[in-house]
Structures are given as structure tokens and as C-alpha cells.
């Protein structure tokens, strides 16, 4: 296990970086951060690299966005205009609201300076002298820690004017959300930050042309930006030796549901479900029938050997008809009802629909959720499943932003692998599963 690609957390060459300090006493303070090599990457870049060299390094690393869509980060950065004389903005997307995802939170809580350093690097690369961290409103501890860290960084010269004597100025601001999943969508996020209703905006113009406050803007996930710190510190090659072909680097996987040790695990991209669930999360507490591989919008897969041996990366999961998403694995126990599970998720998307476009407002939030609820309650009629599939066709790919698709995909996944459970509801006129006894 010491040659070729690193695709297992057991590989001795693998070393944790993003979560290296999470859970350590005092890890959120500047002193702790500095004593563990903090701000060295920023110093290295600002004093020894041009912005374009930073972008080049990120491109070479193969880093792809960790917010769910997996867009190549270096390429995204290269879309920013150069020498246009305008204010540029870098935004850290810390809205983390996709059910099953909770990886960004501990970076912000236990290693806020890592996030700040990443923002300095990203800001430098895209020539943004101002950055915002959009943090979901409920993340109170993360907010407190970030606020304190930013203040500390300002007082000790890690934010503000002329960082590391490089002449580069960087100001960092915090903006708190208030309970709306759609704010994680990048253009909705910008509307939210501008004090408008958080409906997604039209693209084009893309954020790099006309983003926050009408200015060129790049927006990245917390994990993405934190990864850049280590790419700059250790080099693109170090990053690129982890993972498969187009899925590189380390990834924060999350496990929730009845695992022995649910939580966040930093592992090389391409780690298998089996390794994650059994070696790191300690195995399962009860029989499992399915897993959601990467946050609630990714279609579920049956819990079998084929799935368990699938490497968790963009390509392998696409092959299985699902997605890596945010890497948030949810285990669905045998005793749960898949229809109920899916209804819960569609209900989530219905609740979070912004209401801008028809297929989502009327399709997902008005119809699909009711139809699923009807089936789950045993009130479904023959033909309802086919009607639902037709609705899915009329919604999928037709909405303004991907939220409606995100509601469709889990239903499709469930129908693909667990259609019999839906049929059984209609035939039996009720949900065969007792919904008590989950709470201890």
C-alpha cells in the first residue's frame, strides 16, 4: 500500500490535513494554529507566487469543488477578469444545509484560521481584496469562533492591510444566513447577502462577470477553500497522488444513521464505502438496506457488496447512477420505510423551494410532496406511481435552478431500487412499517 494512487485511509502515505486539528483543545486559537504551521501557505503564496501561479497550482492539483457540483476549482478561478480595476469578491459558502452534510461545520468551529488562510489564498489568486463567509444562521458556535478568529487575525496582522509585507490587502466579513437551504446555491447566496429575497439569479451573467454587488465574484465551498491551503503548502503533486483519475485529493466523508461511530472522516478520494463504514465508522448498529451516498439529493443505492466496494468519487458513483455530492453518507436501516424516507426528503425540498419557478413551486412543493405523502399514508391509488414518474419527467431538467432536480433524484433512486415498497403501500393501503421505537 505504498505505491500508486492513494485511495485508502490505511495507506501509510496518507496524512490528515483538513481535519488534523479538529477536536484538539484550543485548536481554534491563532496561537495553536501558528504553532502548527498556520499561515505558512499564505505567506508562501503572497511573498513568493503570483496570483496566476496559485491558480496554476490549484489547476494542476485537480481539485474539484466540494460543495456538491464538483466543478474544477482552478478553472473556475481562471474565469475571473484580470486588471479590470473593479472590486473582486471571494465568498466562502458555509451554508452547509444539504441533509447528511456536516463536514464544513467543524472546520469553522475547530480550525477557523484554516478557513481564513484559505480565503486569503483564494482572494489573492482571484485578486479579491474583500471576502465574505456566508455561514448558515444556525451554526452559532462556528460563528462565534470565526468572529473571534477574524478579530484575532486582524489584530495580529493576518487580515487587513499589506499581508506579510506583500502589499496585498484583504478584508474578511461574516454574513449569517437565517434558515433557507436555497442560500447555498451560489446566486441565491449573493442575493441573500445583498439583502434581497434569496431566489437564484439568472446565469449569465456568471458570478465571475457580475456577482456580489454586481462585481466579479468567485464562490467556493469551505472544504474546497481549506484544501487550497494544503495544496499550496504541500504542492499540487502531493494532492494529485490521492484519488483516481478526475477525482483527486482528500475528501471529508460523513456518515450518519445507525453507524457505530457516525461522524466526519477525512480520507483519500476514492475510499470505498466499505472502508468508510466498517473501518472508520465502526460498522453498523443494525441491518441496513440502503445508503444515500453523498447528501440527500443523491440517489440512494442498495446496501450490498457491489455498493460497498464502490470507490466514493465523482466517476465511480456516476457509474452507479448516483453522485458524490457532498460526501455525506446516510445509512437507511432495514426497519425504515423507503417511501417514508423519500417522503421526508421531498418534504425537505418542498419546504426549501424558493418558489421562483413553476416546476419546483407547483411540481415539487405543490404536487410531488402531496402525492408521495398520499402513497406513504396508504391512500395511494393504482396509477399513482406512474403519475409520479410522469411528474418527475415534467420537473427534472426544467427548473430554474438545480433544487428541483435535487428533489427528483432521490425519488428516482428509490424507485429504481425499491419500487416494490411503493407498490406495497398502494396494494396494502398503508405503510407496513411501524414508525415507533426509533427514539431512545
Amino acid at each position: 500500500m505504498s505505491e500508486g494512487l492513494i485511495v485508502s485511509g490505511h495507506d501509510p502515505r496518507f496524512e490528515r490535513t483538513l481535519y488534523a486539528h479538529v477536536g484538539k483543545p484550543g485548536s481554534h486559537t491563532l496561537d495553536y494554529y501558528l504553532s502548527h504551521g498556520g499561515y505558512e501557505a499564505a505567506k508562501k503564496a503572497l511573498t513568493g507566487m503570483t496570483p496566476d501561479e496559485v491558480i496554476e497550482e490549484v489547476k494542476r492539483s485537480g481539485l474539484r469543488g466540494r460543495g456538491g457540483a464538483g466543478f474544477p476549482t482552478g478553472l473556475k478561478w481562471s474565469f475571473m477578469p484580470k486588471d479590470d480595476g473593479q472590486q473582486h469578491y471571494i465568498i466562502m459558502n458555509a451554508d452547509e444545509s444539504e441533509p447528511g452534510s456536516f463536514k464544513d461545520r467543524y472546520i469553522l468551529e475547530d480550525d477557523p484560521h484554516q478557513a481564513i488562510e484559505g480565503m486569503i489564498l483564494a482572494g489573492y489568486a482571484i485578486r479579491a481584496t474583500k471576502g465574505y463567509i456566508y455561514i448558515r444562521g444556525e451554526y452559532r458556535r462556528a460563528y462565534d469562533r470565526l468572529l473571534a478568529a477574524i478579530e484575532e487575525a486582524y489584530t495580529r496582522g493576518y487580515l487587513g492591510k499589506n499581508l506579510f509585507g506583500s502589499g496585498f490587502d484583504f478584508d474578511l466579513y461574516l454574513h449569517r444566513g437565517a434558515g433557507a437551504y436555497i442560500c447555498g446555491e451560489e446566486t441565491a447566496l449573493m442575493n441573500s447577502l445583498e439583502g434581497l429575497r434569496a431566489n437564484p439569479r439568472l446565469k449569465p451573467p456568471f458570478p465571475a462577470q457580475k456577482g456580489l454587488f454586481g462585481k466579479p465574484t468567485t464562490i467556493n465551498n469551505v472544504e474546497t477553500i481549506a484544501s487550497v491551503v494544503h495544496i499550496v503548502a504541500r504542492g499540487a503533486d502531493w494532492f494529485a497522488q490521492m484519488g483516481y483519475d478526475k477525482s483527486k485529493g482528500m475528501k471529508l466523508y460523513q456518515v450518519s444513521g445507525p453507524a457505530v461511530r457516525p461522524g466526519v472522516y477525512e480520507l483519500p478520494m476514492g475510499t470505498t464505502f466499505r472502508e468508510l463504514i466498517y473501518d472508520w465508522a465502526g460498522g453498523v448498529k443494525e441491518p441496513i438496506k440502503a445508503l444515500i451516498p453523498g447528501g440527500s439529493s443523491t440517489p440512494m443505492l442498495p446496501f450490498n457488496d457491489d455498493t460497498l466496494d464502490t470507490p466514493m468519487d465523482y466517476e465511480h458513483l456516476a457509474e452507479k447512477g448516483s453522485m458524490l455530492g457532498t460526501g455525506g453518507v446516510i445509512l437507511i436501516p432495514e426497519r425504515a420505510c423507503v417511501v417514508d424516507v423519500i417522503w421526508n426528503l421531498v418534504r425537505f425540498y418542498a419546504h426549501e423551494s424558493c418558489g421562483k419557478c413553476t416546476p419546483c413551486r407547483e411540481g415539487v412543493a405543490g404536487w410531488l410532496v402531496k402525492l408521495l405523502g398520499q402513497i406513504e399514508r396508504g391512500k395511494g391509488k393504482p396509477g399513482d406511481i406512474e403519475l409520479m414518474e410522469d411528474l418527475l419527467d415534467n420537473i427534472e431538467g426544467k427548473s430554474f435552478c438545480p433544487l428541483a432536480d435535487a428533489a427528483v433524484w432521490p425519488v428516482r433512486g428509490a424507485l429504481r431500487h425499491f419500487r416494490h415498497e411503493f407498490e406495497r403501500h398502494i396494494e396494502a393501503g398503508g405503510c407496513p412499517v411501524e414508525k415507533k421505537g426509533f427514539w431512545g
Binding site: 436555497i182 439568472l202 449569465p204 418558489g355 413553476t358 405543490g366 419527467d393 431538467g397 426544467k398 430554474f400
Partner: protein
């Protein structure tokens, strides 16, 4: 100019065209709800999804080609919203594919899912975009019928749950009602308010499936709110003045021109059984686009109330109905030995060009020296060069002195376009672009392009980089001071406006490559100032937009109804007075011996003074030309609502002249038009492409100065509109606005009810202390007459009131 293919047709469209407009331009159709002319495309309703493909360029910069060497078409992986997709070179659009039809039908079904389907009781029924599009694009063979117990029942959507219930009668103002169940969330109304008049008074509340339209600014400010009832694609926003008055197909729809101000906005007059029931905006791209002001739209209720339907003759101090023959005999008797010089001929502010011509000709033939039109300003608007409204959009800087939102509301909307930097859109086969990709939500207003001054803060002040409020009467001095600065001379001080401020205006004026000057009634009442504007326009180069308080001013002046030396509408003079369409001030009437008024309605002064009243047509009922503020010839067409026997100005004048034994210059509009054709080369019929009449005139200005302290503030609402309870309720009691210091001097307390008497009559008002005014200011809404003037007044305290 990208070339692209829509189904089977190759077309070429201007750069920046949306696929949606390209489809219509090619002669195909595609459904849409959220897009609307002049509003930003937002891609929300998803009705316009089509299949789009485009060629791609390879690394070598050339198109990637197929085996036959043609650029290969790469189809987008998803259907695209045509409204927000830009048409590009080589694009291929398929609007007829099965997947497109399925998507459209699916979207119709989603739209109908929560819709109440109460079309039979909906005022929009028959003119509803949702009805039409459902019919055209819903897949009825699939959704619309279902057999139940052997019966075929109609099923508009397969949605079989309880529909969303919401407020069905939510009054947004006296004029607009919202039915939240009918709303399809197209956001047109929300975007309208922010993008067109620049007032954020309507928005979506809540989110997702619970989203509804709401406002915390209820009642909606009266001004520009009515346009949302035109553009709402369904019956969610309705005109309350026309609520339940008729089905859409029952209306007689007359295309004519609004004569409440000099803009000349195109309107539809919807009437039924001889009553005007509704006014809607009519599209005229070069003038009002698709918008009109609330006064023009909702201020029609007066036409159906208390019409004068027969001649009225004063007998024993009372006006009593009489036959036309009696009226004729009455008039013959009294005019028998009257000499022409003793006659006065006056025409209302909304008189047509033909009427103006006849009045002017008659006055000339009679050698009468008392003639004119209502609300003529001291300086004739026709002396100022006229620019097209669209030309405003090419200016870089605009100086406004006055209150466009009230004096010429549609010009205010044009100024909003100017502030956003919007230029006229290309014209397509289907006309105005439906999804103009140059427009965006919340476009910043470029305040630095605008300076505005008025006697009170106007709607425009908030959008101006330089904005000032001067005490009434200072418009003239302000213009003169500015002109002095621009001409390198020392300016006289202007009360309330620091010289530095004026110098900043001058700087921006000179720095701008092209400029516009907008002046209202106040400047037109100050002849030196108005002349200075004319001179500035000539010497420095500037477009001028004058806002005369008489709708027909430019044309009436140009056909000779301009009387610089003799008495006019405002001054006593002739002993034998004939006025058409409006009642002159009491002192003018009182000083005459015979007062014949042709009116559609009686007012207190007519009741008190008229000897004979003839039934008159309103401007909605007349045929004729008018010349608007840009010198554009427009045509009025008659709605079939005039009571039998009511006359237009030509007929009434002929009636008078015949009683004098004189031949009328023209008895009929057609005859008048022939004369206009002979004399001024005006067309006999208005050509499709429009016609401008801008004779270069140097008419002498009238002399005189305002003598009085009460400033009559411009209003889009006119006296006659106040006959309608709805309008009165909406406007509330007129406010006598006064600067606190001035109030103290006058002993006026906030909220006190007073009666204000001026030469135009009496008006109840409530005192409103207003620190935003300049010291010394005392303002009362003009409601038409005396707009922009300062007049003497008396304050009377009504019973129960206090001053």
C-alpha cells in the same frame, strides 16, 4: 447579426436577441408568462422551454464540422428557457419537438394545479393569457377529460388534492384588487414596480408553494399602480373601477389618446352600453410604450355621472333644460346685434387641433381680441424646440425643473429608462421585444445623470444626483441664474438653492456630450426663464422637453389660438363669452354679459354664472388630431358614449356663429382637417409611421406676473375626476402643504381643516406642515387649473374646523 434557424426558417436577428424573440420574429409561437415587454427576463415560469442546439468552435478557432463539412450542432443537454437564452450564430431551435410539447403541457398543468378556475366570474376571462395558453399548449387529449361512472368529465389537471386557498379579494388600493388564488407567480407586477416607476411597493411574501403577492404599502401609492392590471397575465390584479362591469368580449374598444396631459399616451377606451367602463394602456412604442398613469387610467368615472344631456337655459336664476331649437332661438336673440369684437372664444385644455383651428379662425374673422385656451402658459410651449421622447434616452445628462411624475407622468417613466441607461429596443416582426436581454432586475439608476429642482420634493428627487427644493416662484430665477453661469456671467442669487449647487449642475451639463432640459409649467409661466431655456438649447445644444399644463398646448398655439396681447382664459374681457369644454374663472364669467358654456358636466361656477349651457362631448368622444409635447400628431377617436345631441367644439362653435349669422370656419372635423391640410400641409389621415408637426414659431409671450402666495401644485389628477367618489377617497382630502415656519406666521396648525378660496373656486383642505418645503412655501394641489402658478387666496375656516 447572428443567423439562426427556428424549426424550418432561417432568420437573422440583432446581437443580443433572446431565443424567444427570435422564435416570434421567425413567425413561430412559444408560450410565455413571466416575460413581458419592457420588463427584465427572469426565466421563472418555464413555459418557454425549447430545444436548442449550437455549433461549437474547436481549438483551431473554426467550427467543429460533421462529415459533410457543415458545422456540427451540439444540442444542449436540457431544454432551454427561450426567454433567457441568447440567440447566437448558427443556433438551431426546435419549438415543435415532442419533448418540447410535453414540457409545455406539463408546465400548463402545473400552472393550473392550484388555479381556482373561476373564469366565469373573472374579469380577465376572454382576455386571459392563462386561458389562451392552456387551450393552445395544454395536452387536452391527455388531461382534460376523464370518464367517471360512464360520464365524461373535464379535468384540467391531474392534480387531485385540495387547492391552495388564499385571499380572493385583497384590496391593494381604491383602484386595484388582488386575487391571490389566481396569481401564477410570474412576478411581472413585482418587477414592474421596481423597474418601471422605481417604487418597491409590491413583493413576494413567504417562499416556495406558500409564496404570495403582498404589500406593506397599502394603499399602493396612486400614480403608476394601474399598469399592473394590464400586464398581469391572469385575473389576479384587476381594475376596481371596472370590476364586474362586463365580459371582455362585450366591451366596445376604442383606440384613442389620453388628453389629461401633453404626453399623448395611447389608450383603449372600453365602453359598454354607452358608458365608459375602463381605460387601458394601448401600446405605442415611441411614446408611452405600454404604460399610462393612474389618473389617465382610473380617472374616467366622472364621464358617466351627471352628464349634461340637453341644453340648459337660465330662467329665473335657474338653469333649466330646453330643446335645441329653444337654445338656438335664445342665442339668436341675444347675439343679434353683437359685434365681432365683443365676442370672446375660449377652448378647454384638451381641445383638438381642429377645434383650435376653428376657434382661432373664428376669432380672427370676428376680430375678437378675447380668445385662447384653458391653462395657456405665459410663454408658449410651441416656441421651445421639441424633441422626441425616445431622444431623451440618448442624452447623458438631464436637468429637470418641475415635476414630471405629475405634469407628464409618462415622461417620468421615460426618465426612469434614461436613469437606467436603456436605449430604444430593436423592432421585430412581432414588434417590441418580449424578452429584452438588455434589461435586468434592479438595474442601478445612474443618479449622476440627473439634476432636479422643484418647489417641493418630487418623486424624481430620490433618483437625482443633484436635487433641490426652492420656494415657489423661484423656477424662473433658477433657470436664469443657471443660464448666466453657463454663459460665464454672474448669477443672481436663487432663494433656497446655493450657487455652488448650480455651478455643479452647470459643470455636469457642460461635461455631458448630450443633454436634456425638462421644464414644467412653472418655467413656462416665467417668460424670461423659458426664453433662456430656448436660448440655451440653441447655444449650448440641448434637447428640450416642455410640459405645458394644457394637453393640446403645442398644437393650439401653432394653429393660432395664441393671444399674447388680449385677454385669454384667465382674464376678463369680452362681454359675449363662449367657452367650450371647461368653465373659465368666475371673474371672467362675472364680467361678461352673456355666458354660453358647452360642457359635459356642470360645476359650481357654471351653475352660478352660465346663461346657456350646451351639452358637450368629452375628449373620449371626439374625433380629431392633437399635437403632443414632442410635436407628434396623434389622432383621437370617439368612443360611442356621448349622450345624444352633445357637441364637439366645432359643432358648438358653429352653433354660436350661426346664431350670430356667421359662417363657421369648419362645421365638421373633416372640413377643419382639410383646411389644416391646405394651410399647414398636415396629412388628411395619420400615416402609419407617424407625423411630426414642429413649425418654428416665435410667438410673442404673454406678459404678467404671478401675484399671490398660494402655489398651485401640479397633479396628474384633474378637477373633473374628483366627481368620482373612488378618486376622492383614493386621493384623500387635499393637503394645504406649508412650511412649518410659514404655518406659524399664518397661524396654521397641523391637521387643521380649512377652506381655501382662489379664483378657480373653493376647496376644502387639511393643513399639513411639511419641513421638506422651502420656507415661505404654501402649496395646494391644482387639479388642473392654474397649475404652476402662484395665486392670491383666502383661507376660510369651515364650521367645526380650526385654523
Amino acid at each position: 447579426m447572428p443567423k439562426l434557424r427556428i424549426n424550418d426558417r432561417e432568420i437573422e436577428v440583432p446581437e443580443g436577441t433572446s431565443v424567444l424573440d427570435a422564435i416570434f420574429h421567425a413567425g413561430y409561437d412559444v408560450p410565455y408568462f413571466c416575460s413581458e415587454r419592457h420588463l427584465s427576463p427572469i426565466g421563472a415560469c418555464r413555459m418557454c422551454l425549447v430545444k436548442v442546439g449550437a455549433p461549437r468552435k474547436g481549438k483551431d478557432g473554426d467550427w467543429i464540422r460533421d462529415e459533410e463539412g457543415n458545422p456540427r450542432i451540439f444540442w444542449f443537454p436540457k431544454l432551454m428557457a427561450a426567454c433567457t437564452t441568447r440567440a447566437t450564430e448558427g443556433m438551431v431551435v426546435d419549438t415543435l419537438a415532442d419533448e418540447v410539447k410535453k414540457a409545455q403541457a406539463g408546465m400548463v398543468e402545473f400552472h393550473l394545479e392550484n388555479h381556482p378556475l373561476d373564469c366565469p366570474t373573472c374579469d380577465k376571462g376572454g382576455a386571459c393569457e392563462l386561458q389562451d395558453r392552456s387551450y393552445e399548449y395544454g395536452l387536452f387529449e391527455k388531461y382534460y377529460t376523464q370518464t367517471q361512472n360512464g360520464l365524461k368529465t373535464v379535468l384540467y389537471s391531474r392534480f387531485a388534492f385540495t387547492k391552495r386557498h388564499a385571499d380572493k379579494h385583497h384590496k391593494l388600493s381604491e383602484f386595484v384588487v388582488l386575487d391571490r388564488e389566481r396569481c401564477i407567480h410570474c412576478k411581472r407586477c413585482v418587477r414592474y414596480f421596481e423597474e418601471i416607476p422605481g417604487e418597491e411597493v409590491l413583493d413576494f411574501i413567504e417562499r416556495g408553494n406558500h409564496t404570495f403577492i403582498g404589500s406593506e404599502e397599502v394603499p399602493l401609492p396612486a400614480g403608476f399602480s394601474g399598469n399592473i392590471t394590464d400586464i398581469c397575465p391572469v385575473g389576479a390584479l384587476l381594475d376596481l373601477t371596472a370590476r364586474f362591469r362586463a365580459r371582455n368580449w362585450e366591451f366596445e374598444k376604442t383606440p384613442t389618446v389620453d388628453m389629461n396631459d401633453a404626453f399623448g399616451a395611447a389608450i383603449w377606451v372600453d365602453s359598454r352600453s354607452g358608458r365608459i367602463e375602463r381605460i387601458r394602456a394601448r401600446e405605442h412604442p415611441e411614446t408611452n410604450e405600454i404604460w399610462i398613469a393612474d389618473a389617465a387610467r382610473f380617472g374616467h368615472g366622472w364621464t358617466v355621472r351627471d352628464r349634461v344631456t340637453a341644453p340648459l337655459i337660465r330662467k329665473d336664476g335657474e338653469l333649466v333644460p330646453a330643446s335645441l331649437a329653444e337654445a338656438e332661438a335664445y342665442l339668436r336673440e341675444r347675439l343679434a346685434r353683437v359685434r365681432g369684437e365683443e365676442v370672446g372664444l375660449l377652448l378647454a385644455a384638451d381641445g383638438t387641433l381642429e377645434e383650435g383651428y376653428a376657434f382661432a379662425e373664428a376669432a380672427r374673422a370676428l376680430k375678437a381680441d378675447h380668445f385662447g385656451f384653458e391653462n395657456a402658459t405665459r410663454f408658449p410651449a410651441a416656441n421651445l424646440p421639441a424633441a422626441r421622447f425616445e431622444e431623451l434616452l440618448s442624452a447623458e445628462f438631464a436637468l429637470v425643473i418641475g415635476d414630471p411624475a405629475e405634469e407628464m407622468p409618462n415622461l417620468y417613466l421615460r426618465l426612469q429608462e434614461f436613469l437606467k441607461g436603456i436605449t430604444p429596443a430593436p423592432r421585430y416582426y412581432h414588434g417590441t421585444p418580449i424578452a429584452d436581454l438588455r434589461l435586468e432586475e434592479r438595474m442601478p439608476r445612474r443618479k449622476e445623470r440627473l439634476a432636479v429642482f422643484a418647489a417641493y420634493p418630487t418623486r424624481l428627487h430620490r433618483f437625482a444626483g443633484i436635487a433641490g427644493v426652492y420656494p415657489p416662484g423661484s423656477a424662473g430665477p433658477l433657470v436664469e441664474a443657471l443660464s448666466a453661469i453657463l454663459n460665464g456671467k454672474r448669477p443672481e442669487p436663487v432663494p433656497g438653492v446655493p450657487e455652488a449647487e448650480l455651478r455643479r449642475v452647470a459643470e455636469r451639463f457642460l461635461a455631458a456630450g448630450s443633454r436634456a432640459i425638462v421644464v414644467g409649467a412653472e418655467v413656462l409661466e416665467a417668460p424670461e426663464a423659458a426664453q433662456a431655456v430656448a436660448d440655451l438649447a440653441r447655444s449650448k445644444g440641448a434637447l428640450v422637453f416642455a410640459m405645458p399644463p394644457a394637453a393640446g398646448a403645442r398644437g393650439l398655439e401653432a394653429v393660432g389660438l395664441w393671444n399674447p396681447r388680449g385677454p385669454g382664459w384667465e382674464e376678463p374681457g369680452a362681454r359675449f363669452l363662449f367657452a367650450f369644454g371647461a368653465t373659465p374663472p368666475a371673474e371672467v364669467l362675472a364680467s361678461a354679459r352673456l355666458r354660453v358654456l358647452a360642457l359635459s358636466h356642470l360645476d359650481p361656477q357654471a351653475r352660478a354664472h352660465a346663461d346657456l349651457v350646451l351639452p358637450a362631448k368629452t375628449f373620449y368622444e371626439k374625433r380629431g388630431y392633437t399635437v403632443n409635447a414632442e410635436g407628434r400628431l396623434l389622432e383621437l377617436r370617439p368612443a360611442p358614449t356621448a349622450p345624444m345631441g352633445s357637441m364637439d367644439g366645432l359643432e358648438a362653435l358653429a352653433f354660436w356663429l350661426r346664431a350670430m349669422g356667421k359662417k363657421p370656419p369648419a362645421a365638421h372635423y373633416r372640413e377643419a382637417r382639410e383646411r389644416l391640410h391646405e394651410r399647414y400641409r398636415l396629412p388628411l389621415d395619420l400615416p402609419e409611421e407617424g407625423f411630426f408637426w414642429r413649425p418654428k414659431l416665435r410667438l410673442a409671450a404673454r406678459t404678467g406676473k404671478d401675484e399671490g402666495e398660494l402655489f398651485l401644485q401640479p397633479t396628474m389628477w384633474k378637477e373633473r375626476m374628483l366627481r368620482d367618489d373612488r378618486v376622492r377617497t383614493a386621493l384623500g382630502a387635499p393637503r394645504l402643504r406649508v412650511h412649518p415656519a410659514t404655518a406659524k406666521k399664518l397661524g396654521l396648525a397641523q391637521g387643521a381643516r380649512v377652506e381655501v378660496a382662489t379664483r378657480y373656486g373653493r376647496r376644502d383642505a387639511t393643513v399639513a406642515l411639511d419641513p421638506s418645503l422651502a420656507e415661505g412655501a404654501l402649496l395646494l394641489p391644482a387639479y388642473g387649473r392654474g397649475t404652476g402658478r402662484r395665486v392670491p387666496y383666502r383661507l376660510l375656516v369651515p364650521a367645526g374646523g380650526e385654523a
